[in-house]
């Protein structure tokens, strides 16, 4: 792996050797074949999603460099994309990333109260992770579920028509499963190619 001169205050550089398992690699190649010859860069967003899910939940510089080598593009082409899109994380996240919508319609239906409740219960602010590493709380803009607000997304799952009571119950359930795999995530990738 080349030693990059480019740095970013939010980047995580671990100096670890990273690689997909052969099964995942097969999926990545299948994805790349969906685009015309010479346009394998098109697979960057889907492959970054897979990398984030398979290689530890966030995109370290090592992972981004690895993805660049797979797609035969420059590392900077991966960095600029990873920093642009809000679903790519550059640093360690909790097992569950809770993203609360509080845009327009969700604000009317109580999204801000749900966010406040989560802050109270988890004792963290948006952008922070609980000390046990289970939950990360995030604010997001419109999740496209405005008729069933307030809504939040936990990893890939949507939870709608929330009340503080429902949130409490959900947190308990999630905690119970925290030591297992993230629910939903790997099934998404299985279906993908």
């Amino acid at each position: 792996m080349q030693n990059n001169v480019i740095s970013h205050p939010q980047f995580t550089r671990e100096g670890k050797k990273v690689a997909f398992t052969p099964e995942v690699l097969e999926k990545v190649h299948c994805l790349m074949e969906r685009y015309p010859e010479g346009r394998q860069k098109s697979a960057l967003l889907p492959v970054l999603h897979i990398a984030q899910e398979e290689l530890g939940g966030y995109l370290s510089v090592d992972i981004m460099d690895y993805v660049a080598s797979l797609l035969d593009i420059q590392p900077i082409e991966v960095y600029e994309v990873a920093t642009f899109y809000s679903m790519f994380y550059l640093g360690k996240m909790g097992t569950y990333v809770i993203e609360v919508c509080r845009t327009g319609p969700c604000a009317i239906s109580g999204g801000e109260q749900i966010l406040a409740h989560l802050q109270d219960v988890l004792e963290i602010k948006p952008g922070e992770t609980t000390p046990d590493g289970i939950f990360t709380l995030k604010e997001v803009e419109c999740l496209g579920s405005c008729g069933t607000g307030p809504v939040m997304q936990v990893n890939t799952e949507y939870y709608e028509k929330l009340t503080p009571g429902k949130v409490d119950k959900l947190l308990e359930d999630l905690k119970e499963y925290a030591d297992r795999n993230k629910p939903g995530e790997s099934t998404w990738m299985e279906k993908f190619c």
């Binding site: 994309v81 801000e112 579920s145």
Partner: protein
Amino acid sequence: MDGKILLANIDIPGIRGFDVYRTHGGYAAVEKALRHLSVQEVIAEVNRSGLRGRGGAGFPTGLKWSFLDRKTDKPRYLVCNADESEPGTFKDRYLMHHLPHLLIEGLIISSYALGVNTCYIYIRGEFKYMVGILENAIREARQHGFLGERILGTDFSLEIYVHPGAGAYICGEETALLESLEGKRGNPRIKPPFPAFKGLYGCPTVVNNVETLATVGPIISMGGEAYSKIGRGKSTGTKLISACGNINKPGVYEIEMGLPVEDFIYSPGYCGGISGNKYLKAVIPGGSSVPILPADLILNTARGEKRLMTYESLADGDFETGTMLGSGGFIVYDEDACIVRNTWNLTRFYHHESCGQCSPCREGTGWMEKILYRIEHGQGKMSDIDLLVRVAKNIEGHTICPLGDAAAWPVASAIRHFRKEFEDHVLHPAEVLSKERSLLKVF
């Protein structure tokens, strides 16, 4: 409503699967188009139907298709815009979730008409769970010979791929979407050249919204002429409206164009009235980007006519007293809603989602957010209100893509119709804040 077109079969159990969909007339439109209609005839039917883009702009679909450069040797592409991110809009998600095959059918017929052999569905990253639903529908269609090589024994071949985004509102803009599909940041391109000439990979490309493409199948089935008789004037057919906010029955409704706005809000078959029996204060009828209108102007035009759910009627009075049908994201506000707080909220959204390419949008949305924050939090000055108007005016029309306009219009329209509320925030901050604290539990 009887006469549903897109959602006619939505309540049939198992309609998401190929077999049930097929036994209820599914893929008959594909058979009709590929076996009995020439490419020109399919295009003619779409032209005759008067179908207009359902993503927000309302541009005639047939006309957009006619711009596609058919002279070059380059491959042509069809891209389905499933990046539904406009606040208040959740119709495409509903459609894809329940009726994925309706979209696939539309994609096959449209690709046939456009001479396209590769089609991408660009879906917003947050809808990851939908990727499985769509991929499954594609797999089923292929198993039954509706996708792949030589479909139905004709010379026409087609592959459809699902491509997830990763969280960026701007990628709903068609050129930003194409950049994103090429694996880049979602920075909109300067037009011209338009995607019809230089789109995906520099090749001729058509980008259409999910609902638009899903409507193509039913148009072929019933005929463009019959479709054009539904609706009113140049707003033909039906439209999916996603209704939310302070109403009794939020949800996605298929309406015939021309339905009075008043009926849509108060009829038990649609929104079912304002929740808690409160008064209607305002409506944003087409997704957060279109101008907000106060109750009297959304129910009746300034000329005293009943306001109808059509492109023309909602735009009656231009931006002075009118608005737009947009994407059909219908947000309703009751008497207790704070317009200043709502405008601040939406401006924060546009500030967050600005791609940062054009200074007026990148800086202007941030300035508007800050000014609105201080008005909402009791630190505003009277001059701030006109300052907001000036900033909005300086963003509008001065950016590469319409996100700048989309950020400016909500602010300009909120001040145009609710200036007194902004002034009250400046003049009586303590009173306004205490009222809102009890109302919204501001923290």
